[in-house]
């Protein structure tokens, strides 16, 4: 187990370096950050050179990258153009996005699995057909359309929610944005759960459990669900990273000042430090989520062992 984790952590290193360098290179190639800083006005060449020098922009790319990475390992993600350190930007942005992701993740997990179990248990029935059609519809509608329609109907027309989330993103205002963010994944989870539950519902151990006279909820929760959850957990784990990245659109629609908002600002201003810093954290989250999923298998299914 320990060795397995260690090996996986070692494998992460080249991926981490490659990913950050790729992002670094792409942001670098965006153009001249100094020109972007002055927003089209011609700066004094001496000032521009001074800035360029202080930001290491006058060195070759690999030197910049090494300098940047050296900073990252000391916990210094650099400074954004308006003078705030990227670290403090992160401290204001990540909790917000994390809250949104948690809401979305809960929706995805609870509704996805419950819908999936219901339709998987009653295959071909009314619930099943409804769930299948509903999820198909959700998958085919782009997430930003779902966001707009819900914002318009619930926020503007019926005044049930606030159309845009206020500063600090209180939990109750994140319910609808969370639902929008979760919608596509929710449909996938429901379909995945439905398939595995439907497969396992015919398994011998379920028949045995029923024949023993166990109450229905016990059969479903202790026998059926535990055996059906592994593919679902896989999906949920890898989806965590996608949710945080995909929060960008939801944050834009509902005006939430989280990771997506800051990233978008950073890209517009060609601010290398902000973009690379935020993406680096997202990549790390994604890699760790993947590792955790692998370790969770052993908890769900004791037959899986790591050596």
């Amino acid at each position: 187990m320990g060795r397995y984790v260690l090996r996986r952590l070692l494998q992460m290193i080249p991926v981490f370096i490659g990913t950050t360098f790729l992002i670094f290179y792409m942001v670098y190639s965006l153009g001249d950050p100094i020109a972007a800083l002055f927003q089209g006005k011609a700066p004094d060449p001496a000032v521009a050179n001074q800035l360029r020098h202080s930001l290491w922009l006058d060195r070759p790319l690999w030197e910049q990258y090494l300098h940047y990475m050296a900073g990252v390992f000391q916990g210094n993600f650099g400074t954004s153009f308006n003078g705030t350190s990227v670290t403090s930007l992160m401290f204001s942005a990540f909790p917000t996005t994390l809250k949104l992701t948690v809401v979305a993740f809960l929706f995805e997990m609870i509704f996805g699995i419950v819908l999936g179990v219901f339709s998987g248990m009653h295959r071909g029935g009314f619930t099943d057909t409804f769930v299948l059609l509903f999820t198909l519809l959700i998958i085919s509608i782009p997430i930003f359309v779902i966001g707009f329609v819900l914002q318009y109907l619930l926020g503007v027309k019926w005044h049930i929610i606030n159309p845009s989330v206020s500063y600090g993103a209180p939990w109750n205002e994140l319910i609808v944005p969370g639902l929008v963010l979760a919608s596509t994944s929710l449909a996938y989870v429901a379909r995945l759960t439905r398939t595995t539950v439907a497969e396992n519902a015919r398994a011998d151990y379920v028949r045995t459990a029923v024949a023993k006279g166990l109450p229905g909820h016990r059969v479903v929760i202790h026998h059926l669900l535990r055996n059906s959850l592994i593919p679902v957990v896989t999906f949920l784990g890898t989806d965590l990273g996608a949710l945080m990245g995909g929060a960008l659109i939801t944050e834009q629609i509902f005006n939430i000042q989280g990771v997506g908002y800051n990233l978008y600002q950073g890209i517009q201003q060609q601010n290398t430090d902000t973009v690379v810093g935020f993406v680096t954290i997202l990549v790390i989250i994604y890699l760790i989520a993947n590792l955790l999923v692998d370790l969770l298998y052993a908890v769900l299914d004791p037959r899986i062992r790591y050596v």
Partner: protein, 352 residues
């Protein structure tokens, strides 16, 4: 002590994904479900027919298992075609896609109004005669823009899928076939691309490019999509490489080229086709998302994503501006995803 990470217990992936990155991209399969929307019992019915065939076959004998099951064994493709023929979802989605392709190639057949001829006097007006979908903020005819928007969306979807598949299949297939350092390197490269969320990569990459034609989008999507196909192709090639018929062909003196093209390719191509059909729908949706975020196509290009993005501001006053392009987009994505699902069902040998 085994050095092998445990197998993924994910039963819905017939392809061999790399351990550590299961389903790491939602593009992978639209429907993890085995029987999404299939008519009840259609699979079983085919199974029964096949069994009867076997029993009638005089060639079959229990003593000699090497004898072929039928005089003329059906190939995977014939089997798949039999499946598809009986599936109404396949026919419905095919007809919709056919209509969409005709619209994309000959938009003039469906509307004579130029989507770029706009009259501000008509701004945001609802439907009148000759303009069934009304007008947008600039006074352009929404119906005409919806019709003309099909071309860019479908071009991006089709060619990005094509690029992804060719790039991924060749690189991944070679890695699976030859193994060695190239395989190790390729696996690490795919890991790197998987680590970057597609949307973020798109925003960073596309803001770096000054011109945003359809082909830039196609290039980007192929560049960031191929690792997924490469991984699947690699797995499929490794599986079929170990089959007896490949060993037999090699023993008979077939060279690497012949082995790859004649023996491995036909047996490894099914999972790739499955991912490709589902990718199509996802890419079309992604094009709209990118255009909406302002890093996709730019006006004067006519695209559903641009129209939805423009409509989103004045959605409250003129919901028809958002509704029609969004509906067109959703129907297109739905059709491609349903087709992908039907093809997946027909080609997946696990379901037989």
């Amino acid at each position: 002590m085994s050095d092998q990470p445990p197998d993924r217990p994910d039963q819905h992936q017939p392809e061999h994904t790399q351990p550590g990155h299961p389903r790491s991209n939602e593009l992978y399969s639209a429907f993890p479900s085995n029987d999404a929307g299939a008519g009840p019992g259609s699979m079983e019915a085919h199974g029964l027919v096949d069994e009867e065939d076997l029993r009638d076959d005089p060639m079959q004998s229990s003593q000699d298992p090497a004898v072929t099951d039928r005089e003329k064994p059906r190939s995977l493709w014939q089997d798949a075609w039999r499946d598809l023929r009986g599936n109404w979802i396949f026919w419905v989605s095919s007809v919709v896609i056919l209509i969409l392709i005709i619209i994309a190639i000959f938009p003039g057949l469906f509307t004579s109004v130029n989507p770029l001829t706009c009259n501000l006097a008509n701004s945001q007006q609802t439907a009148t005669s000759g303009h069934p979908f009304g007008f947008d903020t600039q006074g352009c005819d929404v119906y005409s823009r919806v019709i003309h928007g099909a071309r860019d969306s479908i071009t991006v979807g089709v060619f990005a899928t094509l690029g992804t598949v060719v790039l991924g299949a060749v690189l991944g297939g070679l890695a699976g076939f030859y193994g060695g350092w190239w395989d190790a390197l390729l696996s690490r490269i795919t890991d790197i691309f998987f680590g970057i969320p597609l949307l973020l990569g798109a925003i960073v990459f596309l803001s770096a490019v000054p011109s945003r034609s359809v082909w830039v989008l196609v290039g980007f999507l192929s560049l960031f999509g191929w690792p997924q196909v490469a991984r699947i192709a690699r797995g499929a090639v490794i599986t079929s490489k170990q089959q007896d018929y490949v060993t037999a062909a090699r023993a008979l003196g077939a060279g690497s080229g012949r082995l790859m093209v004649r023996h491995i390719l036909p047996n490894a191509v099914a999972p790739i086709i499955v991912v490709a059909t589902i990718m199509l729908g996802t890419y079309i949706s992604l094009e709209a998302t990118l255009s909406y975020l302002g890093v996709g196509l730019k006006p004067p290009a006519v695209s559903w994503g641009i129209d939805i993005s423009n409509a989103s501001g004045s959605f409250r006053n003129a919901p028809h501006m958002l509704f029609y392009p969004a509906a067109a987009l959703s129907i297109t994505v739905l059709a491609f995803i349903m087709l992908g699902d039907a093809v997946r069902e027909a080609l997946d040998p696990k379901l037989r």
